[in-house]
């Protein structure tokens, strides 16, 4: 079984547009949305949720004020500034390490499991999908990504599918690192802007660090030709293929408003470019 990941470094470059299109173009596969703190794929694919499981990826310190003698040891021990001068625990900052509970001589602090989010198993008209919902403001996004990926892989095995298509999250931090783990190939979507290029370089370096082969897609390539050639130069210098160029197309937003993928919504422009990209991805998968 093969796993392909679509990432972007920079947010809003069109990752989900691409993944939702692949969903309707690809044959047997399982979809997996690993952009857990802003999961948008379901807005296009309208999944029917079959199973929803709670996910706890960590703990949090809880204080019993009646036992607290205000000795201040927890305050001194916490390295995350999560305990204030009044020895109250700031649950937004607590990383759940347990130092405070360990040092408290009164046993006033206990570590409790937190609900970090949910993993969901759903069906869509284009096949099964595993996705997640991170509780707003929770830690453990990386762990939830790992959980979702494992479930998607298992489900693909059960269904006898050969492919998992993963929608990754922006950035280069823990959820992205978790989404890169053992994928076969990463499609990096960028746009011809100064920041697009800067973010592209970072995420390409990241995927190489984790030994995942990247390929580039330039979205809205007609926005700035100068920047496109800078991207091309960078790609050539680093021996990374550019496997597609998508034109700016106002139908992309219209399709989104209608809750459809662009390849279902129209045939030319962005839709045509994405079909072409998918053909190349399929060939690439045969080579792997």
């Amino acid at each position: 079984m093969k796993q392909i990941l679509v990432i972007s470094g920079k947010g809003g470059t069109g990752k989900t547009t691409l993944v939702s299109s692949f969903a309707s173009l690809a044959g047997g596969k399982v979809l997996s949305d690993c952009d857990v703190d802003a999961a948008d794929l379901h807005l296009v694919l309208s999944p029917r949720v079959n199973r929803k499981e709670e996910f706890s990826g960590g703990k949090e310190a809880v204080k019993d004020s009646s036992k607290c003698t205000e000795c201040g040891l927890c305050y001194e021990g916490c390295r995350f500034d999560a305990i204030d001068e009044n020895y109250e625990i700031d649950h937004f900052r607590c990383e759940g390490c347990g130092v405070c509970a360990y040092v408290c001589p009164e046993g006033a602090i206990t570590m409790e499991d937190v609900l970090s989010g949910y993993s969901l198993e759903s069906s869509t008209e284009h096949g099964s999908m595993i996705h997640g919902e991170l509780q707003a403001g929770e830690e453990a996004s990386g762990k939830l990504v790992t959980e979702i990926k494992q479930k998607a892989k298992k489900l693909a095995e059960e269904e006898g599918q050969e492919l998992v298509i993963i929608d990754g999250s922006p950035g280069t931090g823990c959820p992205v690192i978790a989404s890169l783990a053992d994928v076969d190939f990463a499609l990096v979507v960028t746009e011809p802007t100064e920041s697009g290029l800067s973010d592209l370089k970072r995420v390409v370096e990241l995927s190489k660090n984790f030994e995942v082969e990247p390929a580039i897609v330039v979205n809205k390539h007609d926005l700035n030709h100068q920047k496109v050639s800078e991207i091309e130069k960078y790609a050539e210098g680093h021996d990374i293929p550019i496997i597609g160029r998508i034109p700016y197309d106002s139908n992309v937003t219209r399709a989104m408003v209608e809750g459809e993928s662009i390849v279902e919504y129209s045939d030319d422009g962005a839709s045509e470019a994405i079909r072409e990209i998918w053909r190349k991805v399929e060939n690439k998968l045969l080579e792997l």
Binding site: K10, F92, P170, G173
Partner: protein, 288 residues
């Protein structure tokens, strides 16, 4: 006054709003700018800081003296992040999982654990005209952005106007950016994706008791759903930036649009006045 510019969805124009706001205000106020999007720091592309110097950001990770270690396994048992594993004749530390909390060295009864500093990124400081500019940079391959943001935010002064460019999403680095802010300025686009992710951001800011206002970027694409939502929820829409090819082109070349369209300076100053009006009745010490 600390204003954090955030967005549930990446690529909606967070950095654009933060940068243009800072430039417009800097003509008559003391402004500091903190790029908290440490996984993809892009504000510098627009603000082009000068005289930058950098300080490393480190976390303390355990180091085991194998000659005194008794392989009791207490450290592995205590660690909430599975970052230290004990085998029959060695102990392995996984630096990328370690949060640097120091619990393992506290629980070790053989005194076999010391700590060493590991660099996970840096904070650079420079200036753009009269703006004090800070940017955090997470080393590629490092998963944890929060310590960098936490370190950088120690530079925030009470007297100045601090504009923070937050990462996208709603996970822990966003929480750290919003922490202690007087106002959350949420940038979105008028599409179903924009709306979905805006809801999550509003929820987080409200849980943190931070007043919110919205900027709708690329106004004119998509639909009315964001405006309807804001009206229903009583969330003020403080600015609309039209979907304008010229603005997009300037962005792609790394040029802040207030530098080209003078009338926008006035609009960003008005935006700031409205924010002040919203914050003032409830802020502790705002002098502007």
């Amino acid at each position: 006054m600390q204003i954090t510019v955030s967005a549930g969805k990446g690529g909606t124009g967070k950095t654009t709003v933060a940068v243009n706001l800072a430039l417009a205000l800097s003509e008559s106020h003391s402004v500091e700018f903190l790029d908290c999007d440490v996984e993809e720091p892009d504000a510098g592309i627009f603000l082009k800081p000068e005289n930058e110097n950098s300080e490393p950001v480190t976390i303390e990770i355990p180091e085991i003296s194998e000659d005194v270690c008794t392989y009791c396994g207490d450290c592995s048992e205590a660690c909430e992040f599975n970052a230290i594993a004990t085998f029959s004749e060695n102990v392995l530390v996984y630096p990328e999982l370690c949060h640097g909390c120091g619990l393992c060295s506290r629980v070790c009864t053989a005194d076999a654990i010391s700590e060493r500093s590991k660099i996970i990124g840096e904070v650079r400081r420079g200036s753009t005209g009269s703006i004090d500019f800070y940017e955090g940079d997470l080393t590629i391959g490092e998963p944890m952005a929060t310590p960098i943001i936490r370190d950088m935010k120690k530079k925030v002064t009470e007297e100045n106007i601090s504009i923070l460019d937050s990462p996208p999403g709603t996970a822990c680095p966003v929480i750290e950016s919003l922490h202690g802010s007087d106002f959350a300025l949420l940038v979105t686009e008028p599409t179903p994706f924009g709306l979905h992710d805006l809801r999550l951001s509003v929820k987080v800011a409200r849980e943190m008791n931070i007043p919110v206002g919205v900027v709708i970027n690329r106004y004119g694409i998509g639909d009315k759903s964001v405006e309807d939502y804001c009206e229903d929820e009583g969330v003020p829409v403080l600015m609309k930036i039209p979907n304008d090819r010229k603005i997009a082109e300037l962005y792609s070349n790394g040029v802040p649009f207030v530098n080209k369209f003078d009338n926008w300076k006035g609009r960003f100053n008005q935006l700031f006045e409205e924010i002040t009006r919203i914050v003032n009745p409830r802020a502790k010490s705002v002098e502007v």
